[in-house]
Symmetry: C2
Subunit: 337 residues, 2 copies
DNA sequence: TTGTAGGCGTTATCAA
DNA sequence: TTGATAACGCCTACAA
C-alpha cells in the first residue's frame, strides 16, 4: 500500500525513468516493457503521489473557491457549477467559507497560497487591498463571480445588476404597477446593493414615474429574516404600494411570510418579484416570479475563464463576462391591466 | 515571489536547517538569529511550500468530502459544519460532488488518494464494495455522515432514522390524527428510506392503529418534484387522510405546493410534517413543522471524529454517534383534539 | 547553537 | 529504447 515509482521499477526490472515515461505516456519505450510495467503497477496497486508531482511540475490540479456565507442557497449553486467544470477538467476544488470575515479570508488566502493552488475563484465578495496584495503575490489566475472590483483589475462573471433590476421593475410597471416598494438588501453594498436601486430608479424614470425614497427599504443583508423585517416596516409605515421588488429571493420569501401572517394575499392584494432564481423561488408558495441569474452557469463560466487564463499564462487579464438575466414568470405578480 | 527556504537562509546568513527550525518552532537557535531569519522571511514574503512539507511529513492538512447531490440544501448544511471545524483545526476541505454516480465517485476517490488527503468524510452515500476497497487501500480515517454501512465497519454520525420517523408519526397521532399518509422518498433506500417507513409503522402499532399500505407513497427520490407527484397521487387516489408525514422537507414543500394549487388549506384541511429541518422549512409558507436533524452539528461531529481517529492512529474504528433529533413545531400541523 | 547531507516521490536531462 | 542523476522545497538525523 502506497508504493512508489521505485517499487514499480524494481518489480518490473526497469529504471524509474522508464516507469515515469510510461506513466506520463511520453515516447521512448517498447510495447513489451510497457506491459511489464503496467502489470507491476496493477499488482502493487500503485498510485502516483500528487504531492511529489506538484512539487516538480509546479501545478497542483486544484483551485480554491472563496464563499462568503452559507445561509444562501445562492453561493452553493455557483459552487456546484464551478466544481462540475473543474472536475471535468481534472481539477479539485477547495471550498473556503470566509464567513464575510476579513481575518478568516486572509488566513484562507494564505493557506491556498501555501498549498500552491492553480487558481482562485471568489464568489460575491468585496476585494480589499490586503486580499489583492496576497493574490498578486501568488501569481495565479483569479476570477470573480457575481462580484466586481472597481479598484483592481480582476476579471469577473456576473449579470448586470443595474440592468437586471431595471428589468424587474420595468416588468412590474408594464403589468400596471406604479406604486412599487423595493426591499433593497444592503444599500451600502456597492456591488449588489446600489446598482439594483439605480436600476429600480431608472425604470421609473423611463416610464416617467416619480420615485418615492420612502419606498426603498434598507435592510443590511439579503436574508430571510431581513425580508421579514422589511415587510413589517412597509406595513407599519402603511406604505401605499401594490407591488414589491426584492433584491433577493430570500428577502422576497421573508416578505411573503409576513404578508401571509397578516392575511395579505399574494398576488391578489400585493405582487412581489424576487431576484436570483434560486431553488427557493420555485419551492415557495405561491411560487416566486423572479429575475434569474444563471447561477450554475456562472460557476461554469468562471471556471472556464480561470482555466483559459491558466492556459494562456495571462494571469492578469481576460475578457469579463456579463451573463444574461431574464424574468422567470411564476405566480407572485398580478397584472393590473 | 515564491521564494524558498534557501533564499531565506542565504538572506539571513544561516543554514536552511536553522530556518526550518525557526519555522517549525523547534528548539535550538538563539533569539538573535531568530530575529534575523524572521526579518528575512518578512522581506522576501516567504511562504512555506505545503507540497514539499506534505511530501516529507506525509500529511497534507486537507480532507476530502464526498457529497451525492446538490439539489438539496441538506448536504450543504452538513458540509458547512465540516468546513468550519476543519478550518478551525487548520485543515482544508476538497468538495467532491459525486452526483450519485459510481464512476464519478471512484474517480474522485482515486484523486483524493493521489492527493494524499488525511481523511475522508462521506455524506449520505451508500458504500459500495469498490469504494471500500479503495478506501482501505488509502489507509486514512473515513467517517460517514447521515449514512451507515451494514457491510463495512465505518464509523458514522447520524440520527436514528427509525426513531426520528417514529417521533414524527407519533407526534401526529398524539395530535389526534389517525389517517396519516407517508410520502416516503425512495422506499428501496435501506438507509434513509426503509427505516423511516418502519418508524412510521411502529408508531402506528404502538398506538394500536392499523397501517394501510396504500398510504405509503413511494417516490424514488427526496426532491421537491417528487413531493408534488406524490401529492397528486394522494389526491387522485382520494386517500382519506388528515395528515402527511414526508421523508424530507423538500418532499413536504412539493406536497404543500400542489395542495395550495388545489385549494387545500394547510393546516386547516390537511396537516403535514417534514424531515430534516433545512432552512427551507422555516422559509415555507406556512412554515413547516418538521423533525430536525442537527445538520450543521453533524458536520462538526463527523469532522471531530475524523480528526480523533487521525490523532489516535485508529484508522479503522471509533465510536459512532447517534445524533439527537427533535420535533420543531411550526405552522403546518393542526391538532384534532 | 549551528551546518551538512540524505531523503520524501516525482520529472527531466543527459548519456549510453 | 533505456538508465543514472540532478532537481523540486522541505525536514531531520548527525556532526561540529
Amino acid at each position: 500500500m502506497n508504493s512508489t515509482i521505485k517499487d514499480v521499477a524494481r518489480k518490473a526490472n526497469v529504471s524509474i525513468a522508464t516507469v515515469s515515461r510510461i506513466l506520463n505516456n511520453k515516447t521512448g519505450f517498447s510495447e513489451k516493457t510497457k506491459i511489464k510495467v503496467l502489470r507491476a503497477i496493477e499488482e502493487l496497486g500503485y498510485q502516483p503521489n500528487a504531492l511529489a508531482r506538484g512539487l516538480i511540475n509546479k501545478n497542483t490540479q486544484t483551485i480554491g473557491v472563496l464563499i462568503p456565507t452559507v445561509s444562501n442557497m445562492f453561493s452553493y449553486e455557483i459552487l456546484s457549477g464551478i466544481e462540475k467544470h473543474a472536475n471535468d477538467l481534472g481539477y479539485s476544488v477547495i471550498v473556503c467559507n470566509t464567513a464575510d470575515d476579513g481575518e478568516r479570508t486572509i488566513n484562507y488566502l494564505q493557506v491556498l497560497s501555501e498549498k500552491r493552488v492553480d487558481g482562485i475563484i471568489i464568489v460575491s465578495e468585496f476585494i480589499r487591498e490586503e486580499y489583492y496584495k496576497i493574490l498578486t503575490d501568488m501569481n495565479v489566475p483569479v476570477v470573480l463571480v457575481s462580484s466586481i472590483s472597481f479598484q483592481f483589475p480582476i476579471p469577473y462573471a456576473k449579470v448586470d445588476d443595474r440592468h437586471a433590476a431595471f428589468s424587474a421593475t420595468d416588468y412590474l410597471i408594464k403589468k400596471g404597477h406604479t406604486k412599487i416598494a423595493m426591499i433593497a438588501g444592503n444599500t451600502s453594498d456597492p456591488i449588489a446593493g446600489l446598482p439594483r436601486i439605480e436600476g429600480y430608479r431608472a425604470a421609473h424614470h423611463s416610464h416617467g414615474l416619480p420615485v418615492n425614497d420612502d419606498f426603498i427599504i434598507d435592510c443590511r443583508t439579503f436574508t430571510h429574516t431581513a425580508g421579514m423585517e422589511a415587510m413589517e416596516e412597509i406595513l407599519q409605515k402603511k406604505l401605499d404600494v401594490t407591488a414589491i421588488f426584492a433584491s433577493s429571493d430570500e428577502l422576497a420569501a421573508g416578505a411573503m411570510s409576513v404578508a401571509y401572517r397578516k392575511g395579505i394575499k399574494i398576488p391578489d392584494q400585493l405582487s412581489i418579484i424576487g431576484y436570483d432564481n434560486t431553488k427557493l423561488a420555485e419551492m415557495l408558495i405561491p411560487s416566486l416570479t423572479t429575475v434569474a441569474q444563471p447561477l450554475y452557469d456562472m460557476g461554469i463560466v468562471a471556471a472556464t475563464m480561470l482555466f483559459e487564463m491558466k492556459e494562456t499564462g495571462e494571469v492578469t487579464q481576460t475578457q469579463s463576462r456579463i451573463m444574461n438575466h431574464c424574468i422567470v414568470e411564476r405566480e407572485t405578480v398580478r397584472s393590473l391591466l
